[in-house]
Structure formats: structure tokens, C-alpha cells
């Protein structure tokens, strides 16, 4: 099966539930994707949460973010686009999981779930473009 679906959401914490619903519905299209849906939905939601928290520092905005989910040749690709503050990829590191403290686990979860995580210089109207890949 091959597909690609995208949807835009308001940059706000209240959008996270809608993003999860969208991701669950798209991943349910394929049995293999469905089997890892809970994990992938978490990774997508954590990435979206990072946009709200860090790209916009939790500030109110009328901007949207875009989530695109594509599956082709046994590879799942998630593209997240936003127009927040430009991310500095070298500054985005998961915290040491043995350092027990609240916060900073989202990036760690994304790294645990996905096979590849990369930022691409957006050649579009968007500022940040995060790509998450999982191979099946």
C-alpha cells in the first residue's frame, strides 16, 4: 500500500488530540502500520508538542502546523512543518534518561520509536521541517 495524507492544525496544545486522531485514522489504513500505531502516534504528538512548546515558546498564535504522513515501499515518513522560531538541530538533544526529572522526554521518545529523525531546510513557506522515518 502507498499513500500520503496531510492536514493542518492550529498551533495550540488543544490541537494535540486532533493530531493524534488524524494520525490514528491514517495509520489504521494498513495492518502493519496499525500494529505500531500507538508508538508512532506518540512520536508524532511529541513532535507536535515540541512545536507548540519550543518553536512558539507556548505563545498564542494564529499560525498552523502541518502534519503529512506518507507510506511507500515499507517506509513510513512523517513530515511536520511549522512557521515558528527556526530550530537549531544541534541544540535538540534528548536528555539523559537516567537523569530523573520532569521534562525533556519527548525527544527521547521520538528517538526510541523512529529510525531516523532529521531537520530539513524548508524550501517552502514553512520555517521548520522535521522528518521522522520508520522502516517496516
Amino acid at each position: 500500500m502507498t499513500f500520503s495524507e496531510s492536514k493542518e492544525f492550529k498551533v495550540h496544545s488543544s490541537s494535540l488530540k486532533e493530531i493524534r486522531t488524524f494520525a490514528r485514522e491514517v495509520l489504521a489504513k494498513d495492518e502493519i502500520l496499525k500494529s505500531t500505531s500507538d508508538d508512532v502516534v506518540l512520536a508524532i504528538a511529541e513532535a507536535a508538542q515540541n512545536i507548540v512548546k519550543h518553536a512558539y515558546n507556548g505563545k498564542e498564535t494564529s499560525d498552523n502546523l502541518k502534519v503529512e504522513i506518507s507510506y511507500d515501499n515499507n517506509q513510513l515518513k512523517i513530515d511536520l512543518y511549522d512557521k515558528g522560531e527556526p530550530a537549531i538541530p544541534t541544540n535538540i538533544k534528548p536528555r539523559d534518561v537516567d537523569d530523573i526529572k520532569p521534562g525533556g522526554l519527548g525527544t527521547f521518545f521520538i528517538g526510541q520509536i523512529m529510525d531516523e529523525v532529521m531537520f530539513k531546510t524548508a524550501a517552502t513557506d514553512w520555517v521548520n521541517h522535521l522528518i521522522l522515518i520508520k522502516n517496516y
Binding site: S13, S14, L16, K17, R20, D38, L42, A45, E46, Q49, V52, K53, V97, D98, I100, K101, P102, G103, G104, L105, G106, F108, F109, Q112
Partner: protein, 99 residues
């Protein structure tokens, strides 16, 4: 997220229901922290929590640490399969009190 609180002796049990993400963590903290600060042992029943992200895990860590600081404890009860998976991914199953 919805909730129900029951109290018996020095134990306050918070039954949480729904999905716990960044959008509801402040509300969760507002529920749990005063109970901890009042000196109660807090039990968090997570049987009906279908989803928890890193923000929810942060609430669990913060609650655990606050209770420990006050010489008390927060006990996680009847954790749903999906929440337990996230707790284990964060390698917290040996840190948090799970019964």
C-alpha cells in the same frame, strides 16, 4: 481528562480517565499536588487512562519527587497497558512506585 477523588484515612485516590497530554497537565497537577502537600499518601489509579505523553510522565515524576521530599509517597495503581509501555520506555518502572 476527567477524574474522581476518593479519600479513606490518610490515602487519597485519584482515578484519572481519558488522555493525559500537555493540554491537561496543569489541571492534573492542580488536582494532585495539593493532596500531596496536605500530607496524604496519594494513589493514582490509571486504569482508564488510554494515552499519556511525556507531559503526563513529567506529572508522575514531579508528584513522586514532591511526595518523597515530604516523606510520603505517590503510588501508581492499575496502570493501563498503554501507559505502562510509556513508563517503561522512559525507564521509570524502577523509580516510580507501582503496585
Amino acid at each position: 481528562m476527567s477524574y474522581k477523588i476518593t479519600e479513606e484515612g490518610n490515602i487519597a485516590t485519584v482515578h484519572l480517565d481519558g488522555e493525559i497530554d500537555m493540554d491537561v497537565t496543569e489541571k492534573a497537577k492542580e488536582l494532585i499536588m495539593p493532596l500531596i502537600e496536605s500530607g496524604k499518601e496519594v494513589h493514582l489509579n490509571l486504569k482508564e487512562v488510554q494515552y499519556m505523553d511525556s507531559s503526563g510522565i513529567s506529572v508522575l515524576i514531579e508528584s513522586h519527587q514532591k511526595a518523597a521530599e515530604l516523606g510520603n509517597r505517590v503510588v501508581l495503581k492499575e496502570i493501563s497497558k498503554s501507559v505502562l509501555k510509556v513508563i517503561m520506555m522512559a525507564k521509570l518502572e524502577q523509580i516510580l512506585i507501582i503496585e
